[in-house]
């Protein structure tokens, strides 16, 4: 059963009651909300995601709700909570959806230490995955969004999740938050992309969320092995360049970019070393999405 099997009223009632259990890749979330500003945005964007029975193990009990007590009548705000604790200052009520999405990121980054978590986007085609470790502003999400609307499967936009047992990448195909100019870039690039409303003046500027293609969500339990490590950087008007880099440099870039490299002790070292050994490593400078995709398509054998 998926969220879209409910009508919008059932969805809202489920959220405001005991909460709805929604599966995002390897994580089971129970989400509770009493905010129409959240449910109106979440319903269409979450529609393809699987629901799971409440009897299953739940990784994170989260909520985005009105402030507790009298404050709810004074200011219209949205408060994110994990297990009943409120780790962040309240958000404007109109920003409830991005607030919950950021909250989910925080839950994963601070709790999912059974996995090596790289700050990286990931896409897959024909069993071969590209990881894009990058810093904010490097154009990772824009490139990833363009690729998944050009025949690649989304593994994740934010977390490169590496399973310690075998080094496989676990998909986490959540909605992708585009920021500022990237929103219009993707609207122009793929007008058919499903993009939610724009949230103006958030803590990260203007944000809009892209729903991944349904195929990516359907295959969310299908792991992939990394074949390329590509460090992208968008530079206005720059000619495209895909340049091999030394493995030692790639190692350092990946290790320093991981959310929990220090937490996992020597397992991190072994996993990152294995990842770098198994991958061809490049830097990618791009300004034009079509050029970048054409170049990356040529990496994957039989990709057409």
């Amino acid at each position: 059963m998926i969220v879209g099997d409910l009508d919008q009223q059932e969805f809202a009632e489920g959220l405001s009651g005991v909460g709805l259990c929604i599966q995002f890749g390897p994580f089971n979330l129970r989400i509770h909300s009493n905010l129409p500003t959240f449910t109106h945005v979440a319903y269409p964007l979450y529609a393809p995601y699987p629901l799971f029975p409440a009897s299953q193990l739940i990784d994170f009990h989260i909520q985005i709700t009105s402030p507790p007590g009298l404050r709810r009548w004074v200011r219209r705000q949205a408060c994110f909570a994990l297990d009943g604790h409120f780790p962040f200052a309240p958000y404007a009520v109109d920003h409830a959806f991005p607030a919950l999405e950021w909250g989910i990121n925080w839950c994963i980054a601070t709790r999912a230490h059974h996995l090596l978590m790289l700050h990286a986007a990931g896409v897959e085609r024909n069993g071969h995955a590209i990881l894009f470790p990058a810093s904010p502003g490097d154009g990772k999400s824009t490139l990833c969004t363009a690729l998944i609307h050009s025949g690649w499967r989304l593994l994740s936009d934010e977390f490169g999740l590496v399973r310690p047992e075998d080094g496989m990448l676990l998909p986490l195909p959540r909605v992708i938050p585009l920021k500022n100019q990237s929103i219009e870039v993707i609207r122009q690039f793929r007008p058919q992309a499903v993009i939610g409303p724009e949230f103006l003046g958030t803590r990260k500027g203007t944000v809009a969320h892209v729903q991944p293609p349904l195929e990516s969500i359907r295959r969310a339990q299908e792991c992939a092995r990394a074949r390329w490590l590509i460090f992208p950087r968008w530079i206005a008007d720059a000619p495209l360049s895909l340049t091999p880099i030394a493995k030692s440099q790639a190692f350092l870039l990946v290790a320093t970019n991981a959310f929990n490299y220090e937490v996992l002790d020597q397992a991190s070292f072994r996993l990152v070393a294995q990842l770098v050994r198994d991958c061809d490593c490049f830097t990618l400078i791009y300004s034009n999405l079509d050029e970048a995709i054409s170049t990356l398509d040529q990496l994957a054998p039989n990709c057409q």
Binding site: S248, F251, L252, A255, Q266, F269, R270, A273
Partner: protein, 96 residues
């Protein structure tokens, strides 16, 4: 003077002319050039006289002991000591 290993069970990964070394006792990852890595490798099996380490390192670098720049060698030893990867001891340790 002898040099002694100060950290156990190091994990090594060599790429190009750089060595990445994971130190379990501190959970730190180090990046070393060949000289530093060879000094560390020379004492992995136990204490070794400083002169012998210098000679062995130079030999592996394709140099004579005299050709190994003393300042570079001394700096590498000092840095490895600061990182808790080696200790200095007197000659009686080597005899033991």
């Amino acid at each position: 003077m002898v040099l002694l290993p100060a950290a156990k069970a190091l994990i090594w990964q060599k790429w190009d002319d750089l060595y990445l070394v994971y130190q379990p006792s501190s959970a730190e990852t180090h990046v070393f050039n060949e000289t530093s890595a060879l000094i560390l490798a020379s004492i992995e099996r136990g204490p070794r006289p400083l002169a012998s380490v210098r000679e062995w390192t130079a030999d592996r670098l394709g140099l004579s002991a005299d050709d190994l720049v003393p300042e570079e060698f001394d700096l590498a030893v000092t840095r490895l000591e600061e990182l808790g990867l080696l200790d200095r001891g007197d000659d009686t340790i080597a005899a033991e």
